[in-house]
């Protein structure tokens, strides 16, 4: 088709003034006005929440339900230590092979059936069977799950395995009633013990839950909770402003600052337990095989500046894997501080000097050039990488940034091409410091990035897994943290905080340490 002159006879663009934008709006308004059916109204007993989280499945083993429908045996307290939930207490036998969980006797499932050791056994057995496909559970040495009496559950393992307890606080081990399943072992409707009862699920869209009046703990104040999946942050913001959402989750620091200025909204910030942004160093390749260079890099990074400028002052700086408010943090460590002069001195000591005055240090005719890799699924990482490039440039280190998908970086790492890898990892993902420690073993997913698994570290890690007493374990992980700080196979940069915002008439909301939205105490004015 020849549409030469299609726009002939149109007024010149230069004549189009901004008022014409209003004309478009006017036409839009006419369209919308003519089609408008009604006006939606909010109710005070319904809580609406929007987050980018998408309920991909009703099965907690497959995907976290993120809404308090079902509960696991254990939980974590404000220090990140394990605490009771459906189990009142638990103990481990001398040999570390038998775990006994004393269950609450006042708990009912949403279908009215009592929560007993038999029900917990059936649910956990399914979890262990199913999660084999999904996670590290397949490598757990679980031997059997037994119900000793009505409210006593016994789990035996083939070898002592302390990280098991942490795993029992994860959503994947939520206890579901038998009526949740169809005959193919699939969850058709999650029937749990939580303060909210599952009502409906529209895939990719929303999940609705209603109050469970027989809840064993504090009963929820809201009658109904609607979770909506809204991937676009701007849209979530608009929903909050328009009153279509009472709470919005997973906000960027920039948006939280903007909303904080408005008295109509309240911002909630909570450090996510264990998540830490850090650099992994390849310790068997020049120049990072020299611990002095690694330490110099750690000292040359101005963490404060990164947190204040890039992260809008929301996140806190990190020098160790666990933030100081967590139980597992070694509070006696002397943390590296920002000291570019000392960093330069260390580099000089390692005989990296700038002989040709081009701003980049050399040694034996080789430039101090380092390949830094990172990925985009956490959007702040590439800009942090840029900041690192700038800051390390000031002490004479040239950084080349490559941004790839994580799995592509790992492939590069296998070929030894990755010097530094900037990552954001949850070091307490399984609610146990073993998640963090296991990075420093040859079985680690990151081994190719670090090539760091000295024998003494590996045996400490093994000891940590086999020691059941929490205080003794703490000593082991304190030792490990000291050792890692000394060897510097990683440099910790910042922690990560989850941010939510509510309308100011919403009270009692709590964003937990493990990123859960606690809605049971929420009420609206």
């Amino acid at each position: 088709m020849n549409y030469k002159g299609l726009w002939d006879g149109s007024p010149q663009l230069s004549k189009i003034a901004s008022r014409n934008v209003m004309l478009v709006q006017l036409v839009l308004a006419l369209f919308l006005g003519s089609l408008l059916v009604g006006v939606c109204a909010g109710e005070d007993s319904v809580l609406k929440m929007a987050s980018p989280w998408e309920p991909k499945s009703l099965d907690p083993v497959v995907y976290s339900l993120n809404i308090e429908i079902a509960e696991p045996l254990l939980s974590v307290d404000s220090e990140g230590k394990l605490s009771p939930k459906l189990a009142k207490s638990w103990d481990v036998s001398e040999d570390g092979l038998t775990w006994t969980f004393h269950l609450r006797d006042d708990v009912k499932f949403h279908d009215g059936t009592p929560f007993t050791a038999d029900a917990a056994k059936a649910s956990l057995e399914r979890t262990f069977r199913k999660s084999a496909e999904y996670s590290s559970v397949k490598t757990f040495p679980i031997e059997s799950v037994k119900a000793a009496d009505k409210y006593t559950l016994i789990i035996t393992t083939s070898r002592p395995f302390a990280p098991l307890a942490g795993y029992l606080s994860k959503d994947a081990t939520d206890i579901l009633a038998a009526s949740s399943l169809n005959d193919k072992d699939e969850v058709i409707k999650p029937v749990g013990t939580g303060p909210f009862k599952f009502d409906s699920w529209v895939p990719k869209e929303s999940m609705t839950a209603v109050r469970f009046d027989d809840y064993w703990g504090t009963k929820a104040k809201m009658e109904k909770v609607i979770f909506q999946c809204v991937p676009e942050e701007k849209t979530r913001e608009s929903m909050l402003r328009a009153g279509d959402a009472d709470i919005i989750g997973t906000l960027s620091p920039a948006l939280s600052l903007k909303l904080a200025k408005d008295p109509d909204f309240t911002i909630y910030t909570q450090k996510e337990m264990g998540r830490v942004r850090h650099i992994l160093f390849n310790t068997n390749k020049q120049p990072l095989d020299d611990v002095r260079v690694r330490k110099a890099i750690s000292m040359a990074v101005d963490r404060d500046l990164i947190c204040k400028s890039l992260l809008e002052g929301v996140d806190e700086t990190a020098a160790a894997p666990f933030s100081p408010d967590l139980y597992w943090a070694n509070k006696n460590l002397e943390m590296p501080s920002f000291d570019p002069e000392k960093a330069k001195a260390l580099l000089e000591e390692a005989s990296w000097t700038d002989t040709d005055n081009d701003g980049i240090r050399e040694k034996d005719g080789k430039k101090l050039e380092i390949a830094l890799f990172t990925y985009t699924s956490r959007p702040e990482l590439p800009s942090i990488a840029e900041a690192l490039k700038d800051q390390l440039g000031k002490v004479g280190i040239k950084i080349k940034i490559t941004i790839l998908d994580n799995s592509a970086v790992m492939e590069q790492a296998k070929g030894g091409k990755v010097d530094m890898y900037l990552v954001s990892i949850n070091a307490l993902l399984n609610r146990d410091p073993d998640t963090w420690a296991s990075y420093f073993t040859p079985a680690s997913y990151y081994y190719d990035c670090m090539n760091y698994a000295p024998e003494d570290v590996v045996s400490l890690i093994q000891k940590g897994r086999e020691t059941m007493d929490t205080e003794k374990r703490k000593e082991i992980y304190d030792q490990l943290q000291e050792k890692i700080l000394e060897d510097a196979p990683v440099a910790y940069l910042t922690y990560y905080s989850g941010i939510s915002a509510t309308r100011s008439n919403v009270h009692g909301y709590e964003l937990s340490l493990i990123g859960e939205h606690h809605l049971e105490n929420v009420y609206k004015e």
Partner: protein
């Protein structure tokens, strides 16, 4: 006619096979291990912690075979009417696809209706009142409509109608009201273009000799305008509408994300990001089939509206 349809469908099957092969190889040729991507997606974006888990997953999902074997297995499944299972959620791909298709179909249907109804009628109005004030105004609007990206329209309308006036919900899929903003934002560009093309085609037709002949015969102007001029300018417009219908499916990707509309565009983007090969394949297959169906329908309409066009002539 049937000959045309058969040939078209054969060509379509070939096209879709190439397309699926292309998409499949694309997902496997990008650097990195698909199993790692899947694991990451299953763990809600968390990176895996041990190599063992990656190996276990690979084996459990049958990914530890060469990729061409995977492709052949997938093709075999499709031929048996089985689109496979999502790697991430383990739900049947066909079910997930069906849920998303409903949402997108609704959105696209309303959008294309807006495009056709308003595009054609306003275009006719502009041609009828050539060079009048209304024609000039519509020209302004058409330029704006074509040049403003749909997501800008989307966000501006959210600000005005949801945040400002509180008369429409910001996002989600809950009845007619929630459909308005996404459908309108999605259709403005196509509407403006169609309006302009209608005006152009009709003006070109108006200058044909048969119009003069019809006038000489004493037919009323309105009758000539609708029955002759409009009908004769339809074929190229129908082609455009067909193309636009396809375009709406792709434009829906952005709009669905902005308005949290649970459609196929969002599904496709999600699946590509998480390396969910069976879902990507299923989406591509479906979109391919939709495009081809639209084309066949356009061709048939063509011959119906303008009998001078022979089916053979099209291929």
């Amino acid at each position: 006619m049937w000959m045309l349809i058969t040939r078209r469908i054969l060509a379509a099957i070939l096209t879709i096979s190439f397309l699926s092969l292309f998409v499949f190889s694309f997902l496997y040729l990008v650097p990195g291990d698909p199993a790692e991507r899947i694991l990451q997606a299953r763990m809600n974006g968390e990176l895996p912690s041990s190599r063992e888990t990656v190996g276990v997953l690979k084996h459990d999902m049958g990914l530890d075979v060469p990729s061409y074997v995977l492709y052949l297995k997938w093709t075999e499944g499709v031929l048996h009417g089985d689109l496979g299972y999502s790697y991430i959620t383990r739900r049947p791909a066909a079910t997930i696809l069906y849920e998303s298709l409903q949402a997108t179909a609704e959105l696209v249907f309303v959008s294309i209706s807006i495009v056709v109804i308003f595009g054609l009628s306003l275009g006719m109005l502009a041609a009828w009142k050539e060079d009048s004030r209304i024609d000039n105004l519509l020209s302004y609007l058409a330029i704006l409509g074509v040049s403003i990206p749909s997501y800008v329209i989307a966000f501006v309308s959210i600000l005005v109608f949801a945040v400002g006036l509180h008369i429409l919900p910001v996002a989600g899929r809950s009845g007619m009201q929630s459909m308005l903003m996404p459908a309108v934002s999605l259709s403005i560009g196509g509407l403006a273009m169609l309006m302009r093309m209608t005006r152009y085609d009709m003006l070109a037709e108006m200058r044909q000799d048969y119009v003069l002949a019809a006038k000489a015969k004493g037919l009323s102007e309105a009758r000539i305008f609708i029955k002759h001029i409009f009908r004769n300018s339809l074929p190229p417009l129908i082609t455009y509408i067909g193309l636009e219908l396809g375009g709406l499916f792709s434009g829906a990707v952005i709009i669905e994300n902005v308005f949290a509309w649970p459609g196929i565009g969002r599904l496709l983007v999600d699946s590509v990001q998480s390396g969910d090969v069976p879902m990507v394949q299923a989406c591509v297959l479906l979109i391919g089939v939709i495009f081809i169906c639209i084309n066949i329908i356009v061709d048939i309409l063509y011959t119906y509206i303008d009998p001078r066009i022979k089916p053979e002539g099209i291929l």
